[in-house]
């Protein structure tokens, strides 16, 4: 980097917080601009298309409720992603963990004792939490103790979860009516009404949305207000230094993936209890999950890998999902626009980090630190960049600041 650029950026550091907050927005605008080009290629007027999406997602109370219903699992998965990524592990097993959670909740719901409804729901959600925790924990243990890359193991575990779901839903858990019929649709019977999550307003919006917000707050407290979270983040920023400081790195790698999976599992459980009231499969992962394991990553990244930031981000991406349906109805643009846009958002958000890091490097130069309140979320982002100490970006200085 040339010297003049350094000094010109140094002058701009008072704009720092604003700049950091605006980056994901700018990145999204860039993604939307590329999306507009795509829409033009698809013979749709981009302005009309985006207006239709906005209308479809937020245009009336029903649309808004539907958006929040879609945002709920995104938020839960997203909070888990924040924990994993802050802990320096890349969890792309959200799909499998979501399925594992839904499966355990389903098993409980189909074999439940005669308890009061609040207890039934609580235990079912705990089962979902447990299912996701097991599925994430396996990947964590494989990484921590057998050095198996978590990206690979979570991908494999996704596939295994899908097959386990298909196996159980067409066998042990199948709706007796379907088992007797010729159709043999792989689905369970509808859960007892006692398991229906209470509705908030007369729409499909259920109490899961509130649970998700609560989980996001808890996720924030966990990461930034407990020693457990402190250690998870320390391991994420620098495993070697953490080990040197006496932290049992392996344990926190397992915990980060386990908790991450647990929240994804909870998302799966809340989805079956609150929306579908049964579990069903079309044989594929996305058929059941709607790619929430991947979309949750998008929401978390957009939310700055911060559980609270993930709240508005998941509403936005929930809106994108609902809006895309409207777009298909009115302008016949396929809903496949959603993964395309999501992919672009991820690419642009992650790529724009380079400007943030440049700024962080500026501030780490002695005598050039006008604003130390800024980089709360800086070190872990940098930690994502590389888990090693020998990177040239002057991150170590940032680390002291945060810990």
């Amino acid at each position: 980097m040339t010297r003049w650029r350094r000094s010109s950026q140094a002058r701009n550091t008072h704009l720092g917080p604003l700049f950091n907050a605006a980056l994901p927005l700018l990145a999204t605008l860039a993604a939307l601009a590329v999306g507009a080009l795509l829409l033009l290629l698809l013979n749709a007027n981009p302005l009309e298309a985006y207006a239709a999406m906005l209308q479809g997602a937020f245009g009336n109370p029903n649309a808004l409720a539907e958006t929040l219903v879609k945002a709920t699992p995104l938020l839960l998965v997203g909070v888990g992603i924040c924990i994993a990524f802050r802990g320096g592990v890349i969890n792309i097993g959200g799909e499998g963990q979501y399925i594992a959670g839904a499966l355990l909740a389903t098993v409980f719901a189909l074999h439940a004792p005669a308890w009061p409804t609040w207890l039934l729901i609580t235990v079912a959600v705990l089962f979902a939490f447990l299912g996701g925790a097991i599925w994430g924990g396996i990947a964590g243990a494989l990484k921590a103790y057998l050095n198996v890359n978590e990206i690979l193991s979570t991908i494999m575990l996704n596939q295994i979860a899908v097959q386990a779901m298909n196996f159980l839903l067409s066998g042990a858990l199948i709706d007796p009516l379907q088992a007797a019929a010729d159709s043999q649709i792989p689905q369970t019977e509808r859960f007892a009404v006692l398991f229906d999550l209470p509705r908030l307003v007369p729409t499909r919006l259920h109490i899961g949305a509130l649970i998700a917000v609560l989980v996001a707050v808890l996720g924030y407290v966990l990461l930034w207000r407990t020693s457990l979270g402190y250690r998870i983040r320390a391991v994420g920023i620098n495993p070697h230094a953490s080990r040197y400081a006496g932290i049992r790195v392996e344990r926190y790698i397992v915990l980060a993936l386990l908790l991450s999976g647990a929240f994804a599992g909870m998302a799966g459980g809340i989805q079956v209890l609150g929306v579908s009231h049964r579990m069903l499969t079309d044989g594929s992962a996305t058929g059941f999950t709607g790619s929430v394991g991947f979309n949750g990553i998008v929401a978390a990244l957009f939310g700055g890998l911060h559980p609270l930031g993930t709240i508005p981000a998941s509403v936005l991406f929930g809106g994108l999902l609902v809006g895309a349906n409207q777009l298909q109805r009115t302008l016949q643009v396929p809903t496949a626009l959603v993964p395309t846009l999501n992919g672009l958002v991820v690419i642009f958000v992650v790529s724009s980090e380079i400007w943030k890091r440049r700024r962080a490097r500026m501030q780490s130069i002695p005598g050039n630190e006008p604003d130390r309140a800024v980089p709360e979320d800086e070190p872990a982002k940098a930690a994502l960049q590389a888990n090693e100490t020998d990177s040239p970006d002057g991150r170590i200085i940032e680390v002291e600041d945060d810990l």
Partner: protein
Amino acid sequence: MISDLFTLQVLVGMLTSGIRLATPYLYAGLGETLSQRSGVLNLGVDGQMLMGAFAGFYVVFKTGNLGLGLVAAIAVGAAMGLAMAFISVTLRAEQGISGIGVYLFGLGLSELLFQQLIGTVETISGFRPVAIPVLSSIPIVGPILFNHNILVYGAFLLVPVAWFVLNKTTFGLNIRAVGENPAAADSLGVSVARVRYATVTLGGALSGIAGASLSIAVLNVFQHNLTNSLGFIAVALVYFGGWRPWGLLAGALIFSMVNALQVWVQTLGIPVPAEIAVMMPYVLTIVVLAASVQRVRPPSALTKPFVREG
């Protein structure tokens, strides 16, 4: 019933389809091997494969020209690779996550284009098996190895080629240097960026062929999410193979043989639940990764962007 598996005819059939099924893993995995040896983890392979598969299929569907379809797949794959190179090398973005972005983009765009340009599931006539004279008439070995379509032969020939390039050429030396110690390579005048651009773009092109091998040679259809995460498996096989072409070949063969076995088990009606059978290759991959991963060390600079100091 189990004994049905061990008739000669079934064994030959199983091994033949095992060889055929290894094709996409070999193309995508060899490309990924080169790119990881240069220090770039490209997790967008599956998205690049989907785009290549669609491009190849679409061109063949419109023109009937298989060669043209293959060229289109290579071009689209290379373009996706170039994009990944720009993101990971020039913008120095976190590679694992940006790869997921590339994957989602490819997944969405291939489906979007498919809906817009074709709309329904159509079949085409793809590359046909070419029996190699003399060799294909050797009993047992002939039908297993020497009666495949041209993309299958290409995939297996590419293994020694990749080995040679990586270990016996200057370009290969540069790739390994850049992946192990980019600062040292840089100080000797090797352009880290240029080498990584080359490997990641080449990897994209090979992913394009991998996708096309499904859409215009093996399955001869295109549909939503045609690859079904096959590209991710290819990335896993690169680790499995210890970042070496021959290791990748072994991994791809084991994985696809187990897959072929699984298909035959179902075809013969052996009472193993289909889902459990389909699960087996994935379970096996985890087990083998757990057992073998410490054998070889990954390239030192893998996932680390290079910034010149000073």
